[in-house]
Subunit: 305 residues, 2 copies
């Protein structure tokens, strides 16, 4: 295995101005794994209940995702439901039923433990640290977090990300974590907390990659129709880390160039943009690597001068 992904595998109910789906496959680890699967071999660490459908297993397996670390336990799968605002830049959570996720104690299968790359989706920092400690030969580890952990589990979160190579968060979370409103100042503070690479996701406005001595900014892809932004940030993370894993990159090594990291950010943006084109994970049923590479070239065309 090349990239190990820890996070939620869930069912989601989503309402956007374009429609409503009561129950469909979702969860951070699902989106990350599907997006990363276009670049590298992925193994998942997560938990589902007895209600987890065979067709959803099939979708992951069909993308070459290793499910040795997907525990199936008595009870129901994590369920989340939310409704987006008309401009889709914000959403309201309607339901969160942790179900089997409440007692999740992630165990990394032996077959995963020598994998060099680890991406930790947004879950309790303690569980992220637990998983990281089970890995033996990491070259690159990082992940996501959210406002809830920043506000109420700050110390635990700081101890967790201290060991990370990269952190991927959105602009609001970066401001909250750093206490700085200005993104450049926020980034400088966060880069003192451990990660040597910070990616700030800005939704429709794109993303910024910060390192101590440089930064890279990419605008968002202009979609004509955003059907459902759920999972777009996770798909960004999957494209970003999947590309780095595919290239065999090690962020600490001397040979990595800013250009290589920038391309990872573009592949992240590409995967996030595809995600929004259909509800849930639907776009990944038909998406091809050729379409991904074509959109990468499109980013070049509309940003170069």
């Amino acid at each position: 295995m090349s990239l190990i992904v820890i996070g939620s595998v869930a069912y989601d109910g989503v309402e956007t101005p374009h429609g409503k789906v009561d129950r469909m496959l979702g969860g951070a680890a699902t989106y990350i794994s599907l997006a990363a699967s276009y670049f590298t071999k992925v193994g998942i660490v997560a938990v589902v209940g007895e209600d987890f459908a065979q067709k959803d297993t099939d979708l992951l397996v069909g993308h070459g995702v290793d499910l040795a670390g997907l525990e199936r336990v008595p009870g129901k799968t994590f369920f989340w439901a939310g409704k987006y605002t008309p401009d889709m830049n914000d959403r309201e959570t309607l339901t969160t039923e942790l179900n089997v996720f409440a007692d999740f104690d992630p165990k990394v299968p032996e077959s995963y433990r020598d994998s060099p790359y680890l991406l930790m989706g947004n879950i309790q920092p303690k569980l992220q640290r637990n998983v990281r400690s089970q890995m033996r030969k990491l070259r690159l580890a990082g992940g996501d977090t959210m406002n809830f952990w920043i506000a109420d589990f700050r110390q635990e979160l700081l101890e967790t990300i201290r060991e990370w190579d990269f952190l991927l968060i959105n602009d609001g979370e970066a401001r909250m974590l750093s206490g700085e409103n200005n993104l450049k100042k926020a980034a400088a503070k966060i880069l003192e907390m451990g990660p040597h690479t910070l990616v700030i996701k800005r939704g429709e406005y794109g993303a910024i990659l910060f390192r101590k001595d440089s930064y890279f900014v990419v605008p968002g892809y202009l979609l004509e129709n955003v059907f459902d932004p759920t999972g777009a940030g996770d798909c960004f993370a999957g494209g970003f880390s999947g590309y780095l894993a595919q290239q065999g990159f090690d962020l600490e090594s001397d040979h990595i160039t800013r250009g290589e990291l920038s391309r990872a950010v573009i592949f992240g943006s590409v995967m996030g943009s595809f995600c929004c084109e259909r509800f849930g994970v639907e776009r990944f049923r038909t998406l091809t690597r050729a379409e991904i590479d074509a959109r990468f070239q499109e980013f070049r065309r509309f940003t170069s001068f």
Copy 2:
């Protein structure tokens, strides 16, 4: 003269989280002219009152701005005061005193009328049309407008921009003018209204240039301190049109490439970013062309991959 600029020359009172200035030089035509003056010879068409200070005349003249079209009439100069929100993405108008601007009947001096380039700052569409009709040898004309004219003077505005080559507005105005929430769809509709080139300004998030068959997106420059965003959009317009005038570009001609327009967008972004670094027009007292070119190169570094 190369570029003729019509718009307001005013005094502004501005409050931002970084401070408060009760009265300083401002107005769209002022910002546009100062920004464009780094690229081309500029002539201004505007009106001021008897209170217009010699030191403010001196600043414009010091930048080579021709004031043959700056009328001075009995009364007071246009005064505007506003206060920004803490994140500086919005502002509240506290005072608008039109003063001598209320009866402004722009007369283009004979020495300006054969100039090939015209930029019309945000004023009543009727006045913009009036000025355009006085020009004899235009190769490129365009300008700005605002929500007030879009909502309450729509027919007059549509008749005005029908004759323009380019329109520069912000994202909210583009949505309002087109009735479309999605920017790509909004742009397609606006490009049916006359201008063959549309630039949508997105404040801190940068800008997008749309033409029928292509588009170009640039992210905003990351400033560590935004002291005062007043005039940034006008400085963008000044950099954009000043660069095109300097190059002798004609948007209708066959030889113009998307690359040339893209570079104009970058110079617009560069000038807008400098504007925010100090209160009012202060930054233009020290700014050099070398600093402008260095920041242009910086845009290349943080956007190329």
